[in-house]
């Protein structure tokens, strides 16, 4: 199977402290891959390492080419959209301005216009509120906005940083249903990092388990759901 993103011996640093210790993982094309882990396991760091926002060691390949050490804007230009931790809403800009920032590195005006309509189709609530400041949206709506903003890049790979954070379970299900739809109908490959293992393993094809900066288990999501130690630690049954 073809891997869209591959990391080997990936290390990441905050200042002098090493947070990721030589990870090896792959994100298969057209699939949803999840990295599960508790607080402080290094999930957010992992995504920031891919986006070029922190200092890394080792190798990251995207569509066969090395991207480690490149500037964030160059990585975004390759089609990697990052939906950051805590939604990253630009509260003083309108919903539409937020969406346009998602397409910041693109120059094709008509394409951007089309994609606005496309994400409004996925998220009708954003269309209703397109002229409102994004700061007045509810938590769930802001997460929809963050996801829609990621799509505005017309990405090949979508990085999602704990979208379930602070959302009611029913909203998490709704959100993941949309992620699944985006993955299937738009052919967008997804790398998701999550704490909510139940919902995430339901959505994903492939899963990795991250503990204090190292990958301890990996396999098809369906298998990890049956794994006893994962069930006890992350699924709670």
């Amino acid at each position: 199977m073809a891997a869209l993103l591959e990391a080997s011996n990936l290390e990441a640093y905050y200042g002098w402290s090493k947070v990721l210790h030589g990870l090896r993982f792959a994100v298969e094309k057209d699939k949803v891959t999840v990295v599960l882990g508790a607080n402080g396991a290094g999930k957010t760091t992992l995504l920031r390492a891919i986006s070029g926002m922190i200092r890394t060691g080792g190798e990251i390949r995207f569509a066969g080419e090395r991207i480690d050490g490149q500037a964030p804007e160059d990585i975004v230009r390759r089609g990697i959209a990052h939906v950051p931790e805590g939604r990253g809403t630009f509260i003083n800009l309108t919903v539409e301005e937020n969406l346009r920032l998602g397409a910041y590195v693109r120059k094709d005006k008509t394409g951007i216009r089309e994609d606005l309509d496309r994400v409004f189709h996925f998220f009708p609530v954003l269309k209703e509120k397109s002229r409102n400041p994004a700061g007045v949206l509810s938590g769930g709506e802001q997460q929809m906005l963050a996801l829609a903003r990621g799509l505005m890049l017309r990405p090949r790979l979508l990085l999602l940083d704990e979208p379930s954070l602070g959302l009611a379970p029913v909203l998490v299900m709704e959100l993941f249903r949309i992620v699944r739809a985006i993955n299937e109908s738009e052919g967008v490959t997804v790398l998701l990092v999550e704490q909510d293992a139940v919902a995430a393993l339901e959505l994903a094809h492939q899963a990795y388990l991250l503990e204090t900066g190292s990958i301890v288990t990996s396999g098809p999501a369906a298998e990890l759901r049956e794994n006893d130690s994962i069930r006890r630690s992350y699924l709670g049954y």
């Binding site: 986006s51 926002m53 500037a71 964030p72 804007e73 990585i75 975004v76 230009r77 990052h82 939906v83 950051p84 939604r87 990253g88 809403t89 630009f90 509260i91 003083n92 800009l93 301005e97 346009r100 920032l101 998602g102 910041y104 590195v105 509120k129 002229r131 409102n132 400041p133 700061g135 007045v136 903003r149």
Partner: protein, 342 residues
């Protein structure tokens, strides 16, 4: 915005007929300060960075104009443009290293610039005339227009202000403006969108310095004199006061702020000759208390409240107005001033 600009331009162009020559000069100063504050508002209000050193760029603009027009006999129009360009470059270059600092640390770094300015000007006395300063010729009225030299400077400053207001408006509305504001709201998310935050912050600092430098150029022409002690750290602090009082996250706020720093010290002097700055301080506190988002913020809230009451008279209430009004509270708030992401 269009309407407000038309109003400013319309009233502005008609006003001199009703003004004494001293009042004309005062309003010229208001426009000049407004240009300087516009630069500061772009920086503080939209990009979330502090500067306690913009007096230095005002000085750069003023001295560039003074030296070019008196020593090299270059027409003042070119001198104004050169003053803007030089300030842009110096601001950008200062920004590159300084913008690694955040918030209060940046404020201190820029304050160092403000403190150094008068002494640097005195040190290079072969160029700057040292403590004596430089006396400029007031621009002569072109085309034989039937107006005084002071009135001409008034119109010149107003015209420059209107042009720069339009420029700021267009800059902040487009792609660059979204990037500038995104950096203030959430720098990490802005970076994740592919915005080069470091470059944009330096560029914004440069543009901001350009505005203030152009104001300095006009200021030198209006006063027809430059001297080092006019550009003390106090000037920089005054700019910050004007920017915040007017409404830091707004374009129109610059005009209100300009009026505040021009007129309030004069009135304070009339109320108490013994302690004018105490009166000024008191006025400042009252302004902050009554208008925590600046004059422009107050006007916006009143307008939103009016729109809401008009909407409530209609059978179908407009839910968007309420949401928009709730959001107005966010705009230009302390959080925005401090540039803290949520």
């Amino acid at each position: 915005m269009r309407l407000g600009l038309l109003l400013v331009a319309g009233v502005g162009y008609l006003l001199p007929a009703a003004l004494s020559s001293y009042q004309t000069f005062e309003f010229t100063q208001v426009f000049i300060y407004a240009v300087a504050l516009l630069g500061l508002n772009i920086l503080i209000g939209y990009n979330g960075q502090f500067s306690l050193g913009h007096g230095a760029f005002y000085a750069i603009g003023a001295y560039t104009t003074a030296i070019m027009t008196t020593r090299w006999d270059i027409p003042y129009g070119w001198a104004i443009i050169a003053a803007g360009a030089l300030s842009l470059v110096v601001g950008f270059l200062f920004g590159l290293p300084a913008l690694r600092f955040e918030g209060l640390y940046l404020a201190l770094a820029t304050f160092a610039l403000a403190l150094a300015t008068p002494q640097v000007l005195k040190y290079f006395d072969t160029w700057t005339g040292g403590s004596q300063g430089i006396v400029l010729d007031k621009p002569s009225v072109p085309l034989g227009l039937p107006i005084s030299a002071d009135q001409y400077l008034y119109y010149l400053s107003l015209t420059v202000l209107v042009i720069l207001l339009l420029l700021a408006h267009n800059l902040l509305r487009g792609r660059a403006g979204r990037a500038i504001t995104a950096i203030r709201d959430n720098p990490i998310a802005a970076e994740a969108m592919g915005v080069n935050a470091a470059l944009y912050k330096s560029l914004t600092f440069g543009v901001s310095a350009m505005y203030t430098g152009i104001a300095g150029a006009l200021g030198a022409l209006a006063v027809a004199f430059v001297a080092p002690d006019t550009f003390s750290a106090f000037l920089s602090i005054n700019f910050l006061v004007g920017s915040v009082v007017g409404g830091v996250a707004s374009i129109s706020g610059a005009i209100f702020g300009g009026a505040f720093i021009e007129f309030v010290p004069t009135y304070a002097q009339e109320i108490s000759r013994a302690a004018p700055w105490a009166i000024f301080g008191l006025t400042l506190i009252i302004f902050m208390y009554v208008m925590p988002t600046g004059v422009a913020g107050l006007i916006r809230r009143v307008a939103a409240a009016l729109a809401r009451s008009m909407a409530s008279e209609q059978p179908a209430p407009d839910s968007q107005t309420a949401a928009a009004e709730a959001a107005e509270g966010n705009r230009g708030s302390a959080r925005a001033v401090l540039g803290k992401p949520d």
